[in-house]
């Protein structure tokens, strides 16, 4: 699954979480947006990653993604989610319940 554009199911799901639960303006949510540019502080970013993990029923290893690290984009987050989903569910599509 490609996560390089703004129309993949993974991106749409995390965009919905950001918009609904964290009140981030939709216009500010693009694949190139860095996590640190979402207007969320470090605690809210951790909460966001938890919400993503719960929605996709997976755990993102900390060595793959520290949300406080500068420069990590939503596209990168999607790639990590897709990789973890594939590994965790043996080829099943990621279940996005957000």
């Amino acid at each position: 699954m490609s996560s390089s554009d703004a129309s993949t199911p993974t991106f749409n799901s995390i965009a919905a979480i950001l918009e609904t639960d964290f009140r981030v303006e939709r216009s500010a949510i693009t694949p190139a947006t860095a996590l640190t540019d979402l207007g969320l502080d470090s605690l809210a970013l951790m909460e966001f990653v938890f919400a993503v993990e719960d929605a996709f029923h997976l755990r993102i290893p900390e060595d793959r993604l520290d949300p406080r690290e500068a420069g990590i984009t939503l596209q990168r987050l999607c790639e990590v989610i897709d990789a973890e989903s594939t590994g965790a569910t043996a080829g099943q599509p990621a279940e996005a319940t957000a």
């Binding site: 609904t20 964290f22 502080d41 605690l43």
Partner: protein
């Protein structure tokens, strides 16, 4: 002027400030009987109860038949300034406070927010969130969220309110069970009178309709069983057959302000003032109320307002409809006011909102002043024969010319708080 005379003038000025009425510049609320003044008044003066039956089913236990009063309120529609998740009660607090500030037409850009305070009461605060998150932790092995502590802490609502309004004066949570919001309101009065702040957003909330919290109240044997044929009549304050209370949820907020500050910002005339306040503690028992402590606190509130008992036209009693609670309050009101002041008790219609109760019940007292009409005690058919008081029974009662109303809050833990409200035009 001589030094002695100057001191006398200063002392007199300080005494006036210490007993000055504080304006109620705005009111907002989220209650089981409505979010608007129109809906609130309609239920209040008709004595129409929002209490309903709810069966709580927990695996391995007998079903529990409970009387509850829920709000028609979607907490997902409330934005937190912190962008952190909100407990349902905190969302109610924000909604109520925003309505109150809107009515007061507070311009946050122009007021001195170093002198804007938040004084807020809650009893169990984020217990609902804690109940939900821990049941998921134990039952489903779901992790606690990084923000759980910030969501359940007793000052969670205070923190969100301070962020929302940019308040930089005092921001304090008061936790004294059923008296929490009455104490919060009264302490804000004192802070304004004392000159520490000019304006305060005050009130309280609780949102307790979650399994663990409801089961806790049920276990305490203070909740009324809902009658099968008429669940809304579960809570019957001062009745001979009273059986306890219904658990409610909600929030109420007021904007309190000094007259000088209101005049300086060109605020419209306010219909109400808070004229007096007192708080004390029974110091006798953790749940059993002490009439002597209640007598002391009511008399102290009248002294603080500078009025006589005979000037009070209405009492909105704490009226929990428990056996011991109503007996103590009936005795204390009788001692302070004889049987001449009409008594209402509104928990029968909006349930017991614990930390929000004092504020919601004060709003009911203010509505009685505004309408010059006293709300009936819903579900009161036959008062306890031992109580010699003038209960407002059956239907609302006209009270033309009423000047002052009392709102009583008597808490588990022994904390008592009484607020004397008045019509601004009579001061």
């Amino acid at each position: 002027m001589s030094s002695g005379a100057a001191h006398a003038v200063l002392a007199a000025s300080a005494a006036r400030a210490a007993s000055a009425p504080v304006r109620v510049s705005g009111i907002g609320f989220v209650t089981p009987i409505g979010r608007t003044v129109e809906a609130f008044d309609e239920a209040l003066f008709a004595g129409r109860s929002a209490v309903r039956a709810q069966t709580l089913e927990i695996k391995g236990m007998d079903p529990m038949a409970l009387a509850v009063a829920a709000c028609d309120f979607d907490s997902n529609g409330v934005r937190s300034t912190s962008r952190l998740p909100l407990d349902r009660g905190t969302a109610m607090a924000l909604a109520a406070a925003q309505d109150a500030a809107g009515e007061a037409k507070l311009d946050l850009e122009t007021i001195d927010r170093d002198r804007l305070g938040i004084f807020w009461g809650c009893g169990l605060a984020g217990a609902g969130t804690f109940d939900n998150t821990t049941s998921a932790l134990y039952g489903e092995q779901r992790r606690m969220r990084p923000t759980t502590v910030l969501t359940v802490m007793p000052n969670a609502a205070v923190a969100e309110l301070a962020l929302h309004f940019g308040a930089r004066g005092s921001a304090i949570a008061y936790a004294c069970a059923c008296a929490s919001s009455a104490v919060a309101i009264g302490e804000a009065m004192r802070a304004i009178r004392g000159g520490w702040i000019d304006v305060a957003i005050v009130g309280g909330h609780d949102a307790m309709l979650t399994p663990g919290v409801m089961a806790s109240w049920h276990a305490m044997r203070v909740m009324a069983p809902p009658p099968a044929d008429a669940p809304s009549s579960a809570c019957r304050p001062f009745s001979g057959d009273r059986a306890g209370f219904a658990i409610g949820e909600g929030a109420a907020a007021l904007v309190l302000e000094s007259e000088a500050h209101a005049a300086a910002r060109g605020a419209e005339a306010a219909p109400f003032v808070l004229a007096g306040y007192a708080t004390n503690c029974d110091g006798t028992h953790i749940t059993n109320p002490d009439a002597a402590g209640q007598v002391r606190v009511m008399r102290a509130a009248l002294r603080d307002a500078g009025i006589e008992a005979s000037e009070v036209g209405h009492i909105n009693a704490h009226g929990t409809a428990t056996s011991a609670g109503d007996a103590a309050e009936a005795a204390s009101i009788r001692e302070v006011f004889s049987n001449t002041v009409p008594v209402s008790a509104t928990k029968a219609i909006h349930g017991h909102v614990l930390g929000g109760g004092g504020a919601i019940e004060l709003v009911a007292a203010l509505r009685a002043l505004a309408r010059e009409t006293l709300p009936p005690i819903a579900n009161l058919q036959t008062p306890d024969a031992a109580f010699d008081l003038d209960f407002v029974q059956g239907e609302a009662r006209e009270a033309k010319g009423i000047r002052y109303a009392l709102s009583n809050s008597f808490a588990f833990g022994g904390t008592n708080a009484v607020i004397v409200a008045g019509r601004a035009s009579d001061r």
